[in-house]
């Protein structure tokens, strides 16, 4: 290996969320223009930096999610643009599930709207608890402090209870660049940090668990020796370690760590690993764990579920649950605490979950499922629900 400077710069992914036409794409375009200018800029409309489809430019609206990389003096930021239109929520989620942090974009002239609430709720559900709120289009509010303060008070009240850690409210104008990278002379009353100053302090999401968790992705038998492969979600594995395969809890010993080119050094969290194991044969869906505090396998559990498909999820329905490398059929045995995601108000009690509704759902799995709480280890605490091979909803475990 050749050592080259700059390899360790953290890479943080930031998703812009918020209501349609509140300025998410324009804000990314502004940041690109100031920090990573393009040689051939796509005209005067800053949103066209990310809105590159003909349909997007014709309709002046983001349709699909995009990612763009910006190098800053503090590290590398990946900005994820998502559509703000409610009919494109699945594209929003394809982008937002890849993020470490979120910026909620709120237009000063329109204030809190349906997708503002829904996207803030989803940010919370996806674990993007660190949220920067920008009051965009401050030029349309004539740069007035009173307008900003009223918006901040209203937004804080509306988003209270979502469990978000709101880092700051920043008054900006993406079209002029005010308080995005540089300060705004139009708003001398604001002395807080600019948006990019706040983003410079963000760190990538990191796990809380130190114990080994390795969902088995596959077992290869290219030669006589089976090799179990997967991504090590947490912990560290050394040759000679004794671990357990969940849910059976049978012991396995790491005879060899295989790599190409060969290298037998310990495997660190995050790595794609390949292990030759002594003990009973493991299979895709097993989770290899440290002996101490191995995760319990569960057949009945509660989860927060957000539904995406047009046909509702009803009591008694059977769907496929995908969690890490596990795929298990589950049945809905209870639907509680339904919430309308556009208004953030409770729905009357009922036995089904409609499109874009959130609820606590009790699920019964046909086989034991190895899980963790979403907060402890996100990849083992989140899942998708599939119907006919397509994601129809997703959820997290408390």
């Amino acid at each position: 290996m050749v050592a080259i400077e700059g390899y360790d710069t953290p890479l943080v992914r930031v998703v812009m969320v918020g209501h349609v036409d509140h300025g998410k794409s324009t804000l990314i375009g502004r940041i690109r223009q100031e920090l990573a200018p393009m040689v051939e800029p796509p005209g005067d409309n800053l949103a066209f930096v990310v809105d590159q489809l003909q349909e997007e430019r014709d309709n002046l609206m983001t349709i699909d999610t995009t990612q763009t990389v910006v190098h800053t003096p503090h590290g590398r930021l990946v900005f994820i643009d998502v559509p703000g239109h409610q009919e494109l929520l699945q594209n929003m989620l394809s982008g937002a599930t890849r993020a470490d942090a979120a910026v909620l974009v709120l237009a000063a002239d329109e204030g809190v709207q349906a997708q503002t609430r829904r996207h803030a709720l989803l940010a919370s559900l996806l674990g993007l608890r660190n949220l920067v709120v920008v009051a965009n289009k401050m030029d349309l509010a004539l740069w007035r402090e009173q307008a900003f303060r009223e918006l901040e008070t209203l937004a804080r009240k509306e988003l209270d209870g979502l469990g978000l850690n709101t880092l700051a409210f920043v008054p900006i104008a993406a079209t002029t660049g005010a308080n995005v990278v540089g300060r705004a002379s139009e708003m001398p009353w604001y002395s807080g940090p600019t948006l990019m100053e706040l983003l410079a302090d963000l760190e990538p999401a990191s796990g809380l668990l130190a114990a080994v968790r390795l969902p088995v992705q596959d077992v290869y038998s290219f030669d006589a020796t089976p090799v179990a492969v997967g991504r090590l979600l947490s912990g560290r594995i050394t040759e000679g370690d004794t671990l357990v395969a969940c849910p059976s809890l049978q012991r396995v010993t790491v005879r060899e760590i295989r790599r190409f080119p060969p290298d037998h050094s310990p495997a660190e969290a995050g790595a794609a690993v390949a292990l030759v194991l002594d003990g009973p044969q493991v299979a895709r869906g097993d989770v290899i764990a440290g002996i101490e505090g191995a995760p319990a396998a569960r057949e009945d559990f509660d989860a927060r579920v957000f539904w995406l498909a047009p046909a509702p999820l009803a009591l008694g329905d059977e769907v496929d649950l995908r969690c890490a490398t596990q795929l298990v059929s589950v049945r809905v045995t209870a639907v509680l605490d339904r919430l309308d995601s556009a208004s953030l108000t409770p729905l009357p009690s009922g036995s089904q979950l409609g499109r874009m509704d959130l609820a606590t759902v009790t699920l019964h799995a046909t086989r034991p499922l190895v899980v963790e709480s979403f907060v402890t280890l996100p990849p083992l605490g989140r899942f998708t629900l599939e119907r006919g091979g397509r994601p129809a909803g997703f959820g997290t475990l408390p």
């Binding site: 050749v2 360790d8 489809l53 699909d64 091979g389």
Partner: protein, 266 residues
């Protein structure tokens, strides 16, 4: 974990998911830096092997250096190499000087790909495209289903949540993009770190080098004195111009790339 290792791990995860999912998996290899890095990642994922066919869509207009590089790695890495040409179109005289670039790319690449998929019954292909190459490629997913008529409906792609890749039952074939998250600079840094072989066209020759390679008549070199991978990295770090600035098919009109891709171009 350093970021290149994290990116490598993300790529290997996608490659292994694809191998688990599809009985007839293959990979497209153009001998450029991206698909060669992908080929290297495949070797890492399968511990030195490449357990499926490697397909080269040969327009017959590639640089001689590309063919030489192909033969060298096919031998050294024991590739199950399949070279596919749209023979009918070539026999009819299709080439970059016959009509517009769009028609030529569509016939010699997209149609050739359709023929190869039908003839060799692939149900999925790994491709080395990256988000930062082009604004339309930035819209791609890791697992991208294609319909029977080969089209990519960019506005209505199925959701792809986290790394929980869903199986979509009704797709004709899937495209899998394991290095989607890597930038041009990441590829060069990864190439340097891993010591991946590099096509000599990327190195400076008489003050010029190719930054993106494809068919000889449609690629323009850029001024450069970079003669090593480390010098290329320094140059890309300092550069503000677009990687594909020398690629003719991107320039024909504003939405040519989208039109090509919606019809099944890579």
């Amino acid at each position: 974990m350093d970021y290149l290792s994290a990116m490598e791990s993300d790529s290997i995860y996608v490659i292994r998911e694809a191998f688990h999912r599809y009985p007839r998996l293959g990979m497209l290899w153009s001998m450029g830096k991206d698909s060669t890095a992908l080929l290297w990642l495949v070797r890492k994922a399968f511990l030195g092997r490449i357990p499926f066919p490697v397909l080269h869509l040969d327009t017959s207009y590639k640089f001689p250096e590309i063919y030489a590089f192909r033969e060298r790695l096919a031998r050294e890495w024991s590739l199950d190499l399949v070279v596919w040409r749209n023979q009918a179109a070539l026999a009819d005289g299709m080439g970059p000087d016959q009509g517009d670039k769009f028609t030529c790319c569509n016939a010699l690449k997209t149609t050739a790909l359709k023929q190869a998929i039908a003839e060799l019954s692939f149900d999925a292909l790994l491709l080395g495209i990256r988000r930062d190459e082009h604004g339309v490629r930035a819209k791609e997913r890791y697992f991208s289903p294609r319909t029977h008529d080969f089209t990519w409906n960019v506005g209505s792609q199925p959701p792809e949540l986290w790394d929980l890749y869903a199986s979509v039952a009704d797709a004709a074939h899937d495209r899998i993009h394991p290095i989607l998250h890597m930038t041009e600079l990441d590829i060069w840094r990864y190439t340097a770190r891993e010591g991946i072989p590099v096509n000599p066209l990327y190195f400076s020759n008489n003050g010029q080098r190719y930054r993106s390679i494809g068919c000889a008549p449609c690629c323009q070199p850029v001024p450069s004195h970079a003669a090593t991978v480390e010098q290329i990295i320094a140059e890309v770090e300092a550069s503000h111009s677009s990687e594909r600035a020398g690629r003719a098919q991107d320039k024909e009109s504003a939405f040519t790339m989208q039109k090509l891709r919606s019809l099944g171009y890579m």
